[in-house]
């Protein structure tokens, strides 16, 4: 494992921790009932030997409210949290996601976006993008 790799990983972990802390601070001090204009569902990006994995927390969002698109090497996830305002209820505290959201993930060149697969379980959307086999390189036989 090279020094660059370790540094890159530490930076990405630091960045993620900062993002988490900021989001948490936002939750703590947001006014009750105040609607946030844009929802930002939390996202993880990982890879295995065979694939890239994008996971997004989409609590309370049914399959029908999610849209996954692929364009020019970018995976785009859009969706909407269904309205849950009901008459006869007084909202005392509001921290949960509401409204429409969009997340976009630029993927490495070797991501085989045409064969991406998505699944939704327990409020977690998982998109699996297989790694293209090193098929760009092919040996040519001399006849």
């Amino acid at each position: 494992m090279s020094a660059n790799w370790t540094l890159g990983r530490e930076l990405s972990e630091l960045r993620a921790r900062l993002a988490g802390a900021l989001r948490e601070a936002d939750q703590r001090w947001s006014l009750a009932g105040a609607a946030r204009p844009v929802a930002v569902p939390a996202l993880d990006f990982s890879e295995t030997a065979e694939a890239f994995v994008v996971r997004v927390d989409v609590p309370g969002v049914p399959k029908g409210e999610l849209d996954i698109a692929v364009q020019e090497g970018v995976l785009e996830i859009t969706g909407r949290v269904p309205d849950r305002d009901a008459a006869g209820r007084e909202l005392l505290r509001s921290e949960r996601l509401r409204g429409a959201f969009r997340r976009a993930v630029p993927l490495p060149r070797e991501a085989d976006l045409a064969n991406a697969k998505a699944s939704l379980a327990d409020g977690v959307l998982t998109v699996l993008i297989p790694r293209r086999l090193p098929g760009g390189r092919r040996s040519v036989e001399i006849e």
Binding site: S12, A42, V58, P59, G60, D122, G123
Partner: protein
């Protein structure tokens, strides 16, 4: 007390570390009041029913559990989703019926229906 009728050990002012009260993360929650009770919904994605514990005592309801972290064979490059132990505690301004609490987990949302305790009426005997 935060002026919204709810309070909890983790809801005070101050440092996040203190606020977190020894757990890794706090699931976001909505709290609503109806004439008959309170409705609390928490975002707890990727956690099975069995890994969530709901505890009620007096006028306080506590939700705790553990969200699994890393997946074997995966290298994570970018992480925003919170994992590890979580706990949230809610205290209500009206007395609650802790035996009547119902909990359901759907699409990563835990919904708690917490009825208010109906005051018992005691008729006064004697007199005229």
């Amino acid at each position: 007390m935060n002026g919204n009728g709810t309070s909890g050990s983790e809801m005070g002012e101050g440092q996040l570390a203190r606020v977190r009260n020894g757990v890794d993360w706090l699931p976001p929650a909505d709290i609503a009041e109806t004439p008959s009770g309170f409705e609390v919904t928490l975002e707890i994605c990727g956690v099975s029913r069995g890994a969530i514990e709901v505890h009620a005592e007096e006028s306080r309801v506590t939700v705790s559990g553990e969200r699994p972290g890393a997946v074997e064979g995966e290298v994570c490059h970018y992480r925003e989703r919170r994992v590890g132990s979580f706990r949230r505690s809610f205290a209500f301004r009206a007395p609650i019926d802790s035996d009547g609490i119902r909990a359901a987990l759907t699409d990563g949302v835990l919904s708690l229906t917490i009825p208010k305790r109906t005051p018992t009426r005691v008729s006064v005997e004697g007199g005229q």
